[in-house]
């Protein structure tokens, strides 16, 4: 351990001495404050049978654990999925590869520093809960153990697993990029359902609370909710004093599956980690026959036509080049997948098309348009571009236009279909949705300087909006009539324009 500690320490310092880490800690603190609304707030978070516990240490500890179990997996994964990427991007990997450090020691140190980062977040959240208890003053009796043990029993094993999963994703070549981010998002969606319905862990705790409240207040039958529930009547939620419970061996036993996942992921990371032996220049990539035909031959011919069409104006020439830039380097199978989805769009039922096939077609473009706003940074051409470009506004429009064209091409089957059946409202909604997607990608890329924000945010919006049909998040208008009645497309037009203008003005001042 004396050998490993300096590695953990250096890695921890490098990853936490960033402004973004301080912002993350503050954001998590704010999230904690929001999760425990004041008694007169118009929303509630954890309500069981119409009751919530008073804000004492026991209730805050368990609620915080529930919040962490549900939401930390998604937040923390993206936060620590940069342990190996850091060495690859900073090119420190070349130095590390030539040292005698073993793969297992190196990965273990990386895992430990990721765990430390996650623990520091939970510590900040714990501290925030303590402040909340004192501030609301529903109970001034501080019981640190009651506050901490749910985090140790329910949250810590999960943090160990998240850190290991992140390292594993980074070690497997096809999971280390944007595809891994999207894959993990769906794993998380599945894990929420699993956590809540599980007969062990937090699911069992919730059932116990449900039973206890039912026993204590048999006449009261209200709603049970984890998440955000809007309540128009202040104080509609009744409170009770919950003394908490003590951890048992059963609780510890229930953490074993997570520890097993953690161990398995570490073993897999060890197996797949290349010890930075792959050169940053992809010298071993083989071009397949299919790749050659589709991308070189077919793509070449299409480009000649496109070049002829766009040659007359500076903007259209730039638009063509921006489109080429964002499409470069993608697999031929991706192009073929989009083509197949376009064909499917022509033949499925309209309900299925709007609620599933079109969103999937766009989700396929997430990894491509997530580059918007930071292509120069990714390819290290910022300085060349800055002094070369005549107008940052022109470049911004060309860049967004290229992404817009890509999404339009991904939905060409639907465009033909809607036009044929004179579904003009749907067509307008699709245009609004494309514009919103592009401006959001451009905004996220420019302001965060990373692809990750959009890769996480967009699937989340995609899931809550078009898939779960939450009216005000449904930028797609799955339920078209209700959407128009509520004026949702107008909101999204306004948001799109605002995001775009904000981004362009930020780019112009840089």
């Amino acid at each position: 351990m004396t050998q490993v500690w300096p590695l953990i320490s250096a890695d921890f310092k490098q990853r936490t001495r960033q402004q973004s880490f301080v912002v993350t800690l503050l954001a998590m603190s704010v999230l904690t404050l929001l999760f425990f609304p004041s008694p007169d707030a118009h929303y509630q978070t954890l309500v069981i049978n119409g009751y919530r516990g008073i804000y004492n240490s026991a209730w805050l500890g368990v609620c915080l654990a529930m919040l962490n179990v549900l939401f930390l997996p998604i937040i923390c994964f993206y936060l620590v999925k940069n342990a190996l990427e850091l060495d690859r991007q900073s090119m420190t990997g070349e130095l590390i590869a030539a040292t005698p450090i073993s793969k297992q020691t190196f990965l273990f140190a990386k895992w430990c520093s990721s765990v430390l980062i996650l623990l520091s977040i939970v510590l900040v959240m714990l501290f925030s809960s303590l402040v909340i208890q004192i501030y609301y003053g529903e109970s001034y009796q501080i019981n640190l153990w009651a506050l901490v043990w749910p985090q140790l029993v329910f949250v810590l094993p999960m943090l160990l697993a998240i850190a290991a999963i992140a390292i594993m994703f980074e070690s497997i070549s096809w999971l280390k990029g944007g595809l891994g981010n999207v894959v993990y998002f769906f794993l998380w969606i599945g894990s929420i359902v699993q956590s809540l319905e599980s007969v062990s862990g937090i699911g069992a705790l919730l059932d116990n609370l449900d039973l206890e409240i039912a026993e204590r207040f048999p006449l009261q039958q209200g709603d049970t909710n984890i998440g955000v529930s809007i309540s128009n009547q202040a104080n509609a939620i009744k409170t009770f004093v919950w003394q908490g419970l003590e951890p048992t061996f059963v609780h510890l036993w229930e953490a074993l599956p997570l520890l097993f996942i953690c161990l398995t992921c570490l073993v897999l990371a060890f197996i797949f980690f290349d010890r930075f032996s792959k050169n940053s220049i992809p010298e071993n990539r083989r071009t397949s026959w299919l790749n050659f035909i589709v991308k070189t031959r077919l793509g070449g011919h299409l480009d000649i036509i496109f070049a002829a069409l766009t040659q007359h104006f500076a903007f259209t020439r730039l638009l063509r080049l921006e489109l080429k830039l964002i499409l470069k380097g993608h697999s031929v199978y991706w192009f073929m997948g989009l083509l197949i989805l376009n064909i499917i769009q022509m033949f499925v039922s309209q309900a299925l098309l709007v609620s599933l096939v079109l969103p999937i077609s766009w989700l396929c473009c997430v990894l491509v348009i997530s580059q918007l706003g930071q292509l120069e940074k990714l390819s290290n051409t910022s300085e060349l571009i800055t002094y070369s470009k005549q107008s940052s506004i022109l470049q911004s429009f060309a860049c967004c236009g290229a992404a817009w064209i890509l999404l339009a091409l991904a939905s060409m089957g639907s465009v033909i279909r809607f036009t044929g059946s004179a579904e003009w409202l749907l067509l307008v909604q699709m245009i609004v949705a494309i514009s919103f997607t592009v401006s959001l990608a451009y905004f996220c890329g420019t302001f965060t300087g990373s692809k990750r924000m959009f890769e996480v945010l967009y699937p989340a919006l995609w899931y809550i909006g078009p898939i779960q049909a939450a009216l005000y998040v449904d930028f797609f208008g799955v339920n078209s009539q209700a959407s128009w009645q509520a004026g949702v497309p107008y909101y999204f037009v306004a948001i799109s324009i605002s995001l775009l203008m904000l981004t362009i003005s930020a780019k112009s001042t840089r």
């Binding site: 890695d11 900073s90 090119m91």
Partner: protein, 301 residues
């Protein structure tokens, strides 16, 4: 102490073709400085990465003091110092923290690491910036930190790829001096395409071209091989272009309305030309140009 490279080949896929980075390269490296010269794309960096145990070669063997390092890379890693051409640092750490980190990766005991770090920071004139974040380092300072990390474990084999990039003339001279001091008791492989960097310090020069080792000898022997092929000629500017097309022009200096050319050619290029003493740069250009289509070689000054 010996590094023995036997029939080393390395190839990679590029499109439909298999491209050759290194072809049947055999070389013995003994204590002292081996200058590895070659144009861009000659395979120097591929060879460096293989010797640094980062990449495994397609064919061939490498023995370090009799032990096969392709099968057992750890044997060499303990005694290796490596400075790649392109490398990065943890910019949020201070110079001393970064070196402590690398020292731990190299498995050095804390007391030894601390002593070594202090000594190297002093030697490389970085003591004043030891506690400053690497983010604030200039290019030359980062390069010196790179050199320091390579020397941390007092390596028996030191592999340095284009180390003088970013160093100012004074730092380059200091670095050459440092390498000379170190070269008595270890093997140093110094890869570059700047001949002047190795001319005065290398015990031996290996020249690579298109993945092949085309020459391996002492600097004086290489110069001797082209002893009767070096000429000096004063020409006017109109003749310069023609001379560059026909011969290897290793150096040109403007003198009034004329230009003085150093030419490398098998026979006397012009009746006005006089024989001159060959330099290592002449030898390098002569051997590498023989493998290329005739193009102009000139270094204007």
């Amino acid at each position: 102490m010996l590094l023995d490279i036997q029939s080393l080949s390395h190839h990679y896929q590029s499109g439909k073709n298999t491209k050759l980075a290194i072809k049947s390269l055999s070389l013995q490296v003994e204590p002292g400085i081996l200058g590895l010269l070659g144009p861009n794309g000659a395979g120097k960096s591929s060879l460096m990465r293989i010797l640094a145990t980062i990449t495994k070669p397609s064919e061939g063997s490498i023995f370090w003091q009799g032990q096969d390092i392709i099968k057992s890379p750890q044997v060499l890693r303990k005694e290796l110092g490596y400075l790649p051409q392109y490398f990065g640092v943890y910019d949020q750490l201070s110079g001393i923290e970064f070196l402590q980190y690398i020292a731990t990766l190299k498995g050095l005991r804390k007391s030894i690491a601390d002593h070594s770090i202090e000594h190297l920071l002093q030697k490389l004139n970085l003591t004043h910036a030891a506690h400053t974040s690497l983010k604030g380092y200039s290019g030359g300072m980062k390069q010196r930190i790179g050199i320091a990390q390579a020397l941390l474990n007092d390596p028996k084999l030191l592999i340095i790829d284009e180390p003088s990039v970013g160093l100012d003339p004074q730092e380059r001279a200091n670095f050459r001096q440092l390498l000379t001091e170190l070269s008595d008791e270890r093997c140093i492989i110094f890869s570059t395409h700047i001949v002047a960097d190795v001319e005065s310090i290398a015990d031996r020069i290996a020249i690579m071209h298109s993945g092949h080792l085309i020459q391996s000898d002492s600097p004086s022997a290489l110069q001797h091989k082209i002893a009767n092929k070096c000429w000096q000629l004063s020409a006017n500017f109109n003749e310069l272009k023609q001379m560059q097309q026909e011969f290897i022009v290793s150096h040109s200096v403007r003198k009034g309305s004329m230009v003085e050319l150093n030419i490398v050619a098998d026979s006397c290029p012009d009746a006005r030309a006089i024989a001159r003493t060959p330099s290592l740069e002449d030898a390098y250009l002569y051997f590498t140009s023989k493998r290329e289509a005739p193009t102009a070689y000139a270094r204007a000054s």
